[in-house]
């Protein structure tokens, strides 16, 4: 087990360094004048160009530049926006909103996705199964931002059940955006759960559990479900990337002052330091979450733990 943890942590660090290097190379080392790139559409005035050169030590060799960048990231320095605001500080103020949104989204994915998957697998080819399959197909094909607009119009404006946008109403404000963001992967979760559980129900150890005279509930919950949820957990970990990407759109549509909204705004305005800063933070989140998932995996599956 210690060896497994060590190797996973090392791997995570490697991925983190590699991914930030890729972002760094894309931002600063690809052909083209980085100063002009950072200055965006406006002409770079000499003072600004000088500041940028000094800030990023552009006269040094590439690896040294990257080292400085990484050192900055480690120390929580992600640079400044054009208006001179500290990016790390700005994101720090916004991370709580994004975190709440992500929590709601994850809760919806698990409740609806896993729930529908179980229902579907237990009532295979029944009415509920057909319903779930149509629902998942719709969920897979209707882009989540369309869902967002439709819900905003129907639930928010026409019915007035939930706030249309903003965060003034506390946790009520997060229900609709959370559902929308969750809907990004809910259908996949439902499909995966259904497939895994259907397969597990055919396993000998599940039939053995039945033939021992256990109740259906116990057979499903204790024997079949536990094994079928392992891949679902892995999937949810990998989907964090999609969740973070989705937050950019969701927060913009629902006007939630989170990191995603900052990203969308920065992308639109061409404000590169913020863009690079947000992506760096998101990569960090992704790697850490997947490290945790790997460790959880070992807890759930003893074959890994003792391997």
């Amino acid at each position: 087990m210690p060896r497994y943890i060590t190797s996973r942590v090392l791997q995570a660090v490697l991925v983190l360094v590699g991914a930030t290097l890729v972002i760094f190379v894309i931002t600063f080392a690809l052909p083209g004048d980085p100063v002009q790139a950072l200055a965006g559409e406006r002409a770079a005035d000499p003072a600004f160009a000088e500041a940028i050169r000094a800030r990023y030590h552009l006269d040094e060799p590439l690896l040294q530049q990257y080292g400085r960048f990484l050192l900055g990231v480690v120390q929580g320095d992600l640079g400044q926006t054009y208006s001179g605001q500290d990016v790390a500080q700005m994101l720090g103020e916004r991370i709580w909103v994004s975190g709440q949104l992500a929590a709601f989204a994850l809760a919806f994915q698990i409740l609806i996705g896993v729930g529908a998957g179980i229902l579907s697998a237990l009532r295979r080819n029944g009415l509920a199964d057909t319903g779930v399959r149509i629902f998942t197909l719709a969920g897979l094909s209707i882009p989540f931002f369309v869902t967002a607009y439709v819900l905003q119009l129907v639930v928010g404006v026409k019915l007035g059940w939930l706030p249309v946008a903003g965060t003034e109403d506390g946790f009520l404000s997060y229900i609709m955006p959370g559902f929308v963001l969750g809907s990004l992967s809910t259908a996949y979760v439902a499909r995966l759960t259904r497939g895994q559980l259907t397969e597990a129900l055919r396993e000998d150890y599940v039939r053995m559990a039945t033939s021992k005279g256990l109740t259906r509930v116990r057979v499903v919950a204790h024997h079949a479900l536990r094994n079928s949820l392992i891949p679902v957990v892995t999937f949810l970990g990998l989907e964090v990337g999609a969740l973070l990407s989705g937050a950019v759109i969701t927060e913009s549509i629902f006007n939630l002052p989170g990191m995603g909204q900052a990203m969308a705004r920065a992308v639109y305005l061409g404000e590169r330091t913020t863009v690079v800063g947000v992506v760096t933070v998101f990569v960090l989140v992704y790697v850490v979450v997947n490290l945790l998932v790997d460790l959880l995996y070992a807890v759930l599956d003893p074959r890994i733990r003792y391997a």
């Binding site: 991925v15 083209g32 197909l137 931002f145 990998l238 639109y268 863009v275």
Partner: protein, 303 residues
């Protein structure tokens, strides 16, 4: 639009030449021909490809003939989905948007399919340090969320002209690792089967074993992911255009229409919902196709 030719190639998996495995592909073709969902998705796709190829046949008006005086006009005779902020016919613009959306979806699927397929196949087949290196690189790119990575590229390099090529490159750079991962595991699985040992035992060359056994057996999962990805990348294109960093006028795309319509959505939903329906139907068709192909390739996976 050369991509469209390859689109029909994807739609007809049995056409893939597999001389020695004729029985297998015949069975696949038979299962496909028996599936009503295959015909449904094929019909939808033929209509969409038709729109992309000759939009004038489907459109009711010139998409560039806009009348600012009739901005956000309601649906009515001759303008089924009303008019957008610029006073352009939403239905006709949606029809014309099919070309860019489908084209980008197909191009990115092909590029990521070939790149990811090659990387994954090499990693899975050669193993050892090749696998270790390629897998680490794949993991690193996988850690950068596709949409965010593409956004960085597009923000930094801007979009010149219509932005078609930049969007294709940006999505491809970050879209291949997923294909690589799936291809690697299916190649690995095919390689570890006992029949590979048997092939080696009877003196079958490595290359021949690769061509006869590994490729046909790992082609299925690859085909499924590439097909399903068509819909995924079409969605990504629309998201990027929605953020305002994707395709630019005069190119018409669904994402860009949605981008233009979102500000006034609550008062005039049709200019947004129109392209959204086109988008959803196209994605649905590709997902159904992916499902049908998967079931036809591996009947055991079917319930």
């Amino acid at each position: 639009m050369p991509e469209l030719v390859s689109a029909t190639g994807v739609m007809e998996p049995p056409a893939i030449p597999q001389r020695k495995r004729r029985g297998h592909w015949q069975a696949v073709r038979r299962r496909l021909s028996r599936s009503p969902l295959f015909y449904l998705s094929a019909t939808l796709l033929v209509v969409m490809v038709g729109m992309a190829a000759v939009p004038a046949l489907f459109a009711t008006a010139d998409p560039h003939d806009c009348d600012l005086g009739r901005t956000l006009a309601d649906a009515g005779a001759g303008q089924w989905l009303g008019r957008d902020l610029q006073g352009c016919d939403v239905f006709s613009r949606s029809v014309y948007g099919a070309r860019a959306s489908l084209g980008i979806g197909i191009a990115v699927s092909l590029v990521t399919g070939l790149l990811g397929g090659a990387v994954g196949a090499a990693a899975g087949y050669f193993g050892g340090w090749v696998d270790a290196t390629l897998s680490r690189i794949t993991e690193i790119f996988l850690a950068i969320p596709l949409l965010l990575g593409a956004s960085v590229l597009l923000t930094l390099f801007g979009t010149s002209g219509s932005g078609t090529w930049t969007v294709i490159i940006a999505l491809s750079v970050h879209g291949w690792p997923q294909v690589a991962r799936i291809t690697r595991s299916s190649v690995l699985e095919a390689k570890q089967q006992d029949y590979m040992l048997a092939a080696a035992a009877i003196g079958c060359s490595r290359l021949r074993a690769l061509a006869r056994h590994v490729v046909p057996n790992s082609l299925g999962p690859w085909l499924v992911v590439v097909t399903t990805n068509l819909g995924v990348f079409i969605t990504y294109e629309s998201i990027i255009s929605m953020l305002g960093i994707g395709l630019r006028p005069p190119t018409i795309s669904w994402g860009q229409m949605i981008h233009d319509a979102q500000a006034r959505f609550l008062e005039a939903p049709l200019p947004l919902l129109g392209p959204a329906v086109f988008l959803s139907v196209t994605v649905l068709a590709f997902i159904l196709l992916g499902d049908v192909v998967r079931d036809a390739l591996d009947p055991r996976s079917h319930s």
